[in-house]
Amino acid sequence: MPRPVRISFRALNRLVWTAFVLLLSNQMSIWMLICVLIIYCQLFSFSVHDNVGSGKVFGMAAIYSLYIINKSGGLIYYKDYGSAGRMDTNDSLRVASLWHSMHAISQQLSPVSGCLGIELLQADTFDLHCFQSLTGTKFFVVCEPGAQHMENLLKFVYELYTDYVLKNPFYEMEMPIRCELFDINLTQAVQKDRVVFLGR
């Protein structure tokens, strides 16, 4: 795709305005106006495409991956959003069950009573936010350090899980999740603008 010519919108707007004024004063044919409009549209569409291509403006939130583990520590959902450290099935299963036990041990080590396990783990290159439902299903997301609104995202994922997984007659409890509707809605939820929206 050609790089967009850098012309400010104000300049473009003025160009179109001038064209209209010229047309009104009969100094310019309608064909010339159409030509100007076509150029305008072309430039405009290029600049919009450029935004999409960069992936920063409309792309994913800063999420690396999402896990759901059942109450006995088995991984029932793993989705990687294009991180460099993508794991194969065996590794993701191991990581999930390790997290399950670490979560339990952290409750034992609490200096005061009523501990519900790790909510946020801050590593050198990522943050891990974890949400545990009352039934013991754990949802955790691996994201960029300092990413915002992740608690809300996890609660929303839980909502999607209750809707599109638990209400699906073909889903067997505690088994890996293979539900098309869940996938579709989840993909929408992790879009950056949606995550920010959830934070409100």
């Binding site: 390790l98 041990i105 200096p111 009573s113 009523g114 396990g117 946020l120 590593a123």
Partner: protein
């Protein structure tokens, strides 16, 4: 039927007091997993005896470190099997985790000394403070001619300075 997550729904601990008294406890481990120092300031709940507690804490740190090293989403390099021992400074480590009742801050020195500080969940970033504590360790323990490396720390001066410092930060 077993319910997970205890009897209460997310009991939040009292807000942190203005100063002092928010530090719960501190551990220092050497690279062999020997607990060199355990200080305790405020710990109402104790589920295990001291030795079991130290072992469990070291195990948690070891496993969490291998977990973060394996998970590291920014590096595509082959990371080996999960649970493979990592040398100090090797692989992606972590510096803190938070539960609803406490926050644990963790630091590992290049020689494998691990400093763990457990504080109120709402304390901020303690990375700098842990470095200061490491500094205290170097000053009052390592430079102490009567201290044998690898043995439990029994330096009165270190303990008092540490107590004072922790009261100042948390």
């Amino acid at each position: 039927m077993q319910f997970f997550g205890g009897s209460e729904i997310s009991p939040s601990p009292p807000a942190p007091a203005a100063s002092g008294n928010n530090g719960h406890m501190m551990y220092v481990f050497n690279r062999n997993g020997v607990c060199l120092l355990y200080r305790e300031w405020n710990r109402p709940l104790r589920t295990l005896d001291a030795q079991q507690d130290h072992k469990l804490m070291f195990g948690l740190l070891f496993s969490l470190k291998s977990l973060t090293a394996k998970m590291d989403p920014t590096s595509a390099a082959e990371k080996g099997n999960l649970g493979m021992p990592q040398l100090p400074g090797q692989g992606c480590s972590f510096h803190s985790f938070r539960t609803n009742t406490y926050k644990l801050s963790f630091m590992e020195s290049p020689s494998g000394i691990k400093i763990i500080l457990v504080t109120h969940p709402r304390t901020g970033d303690l990375r700098e403070s842990l470095k200061r504590i490491y500094n205290l360790y170097v000053d009052y323990v390592v430079k102490n001619p009567l201290y044998t490396p690898g043995s439990p720390i029994r330096c009165e001066l270190f303990n008092t300075t540490l107590d004072q410092y922790v009261r100042g930060i948390a």
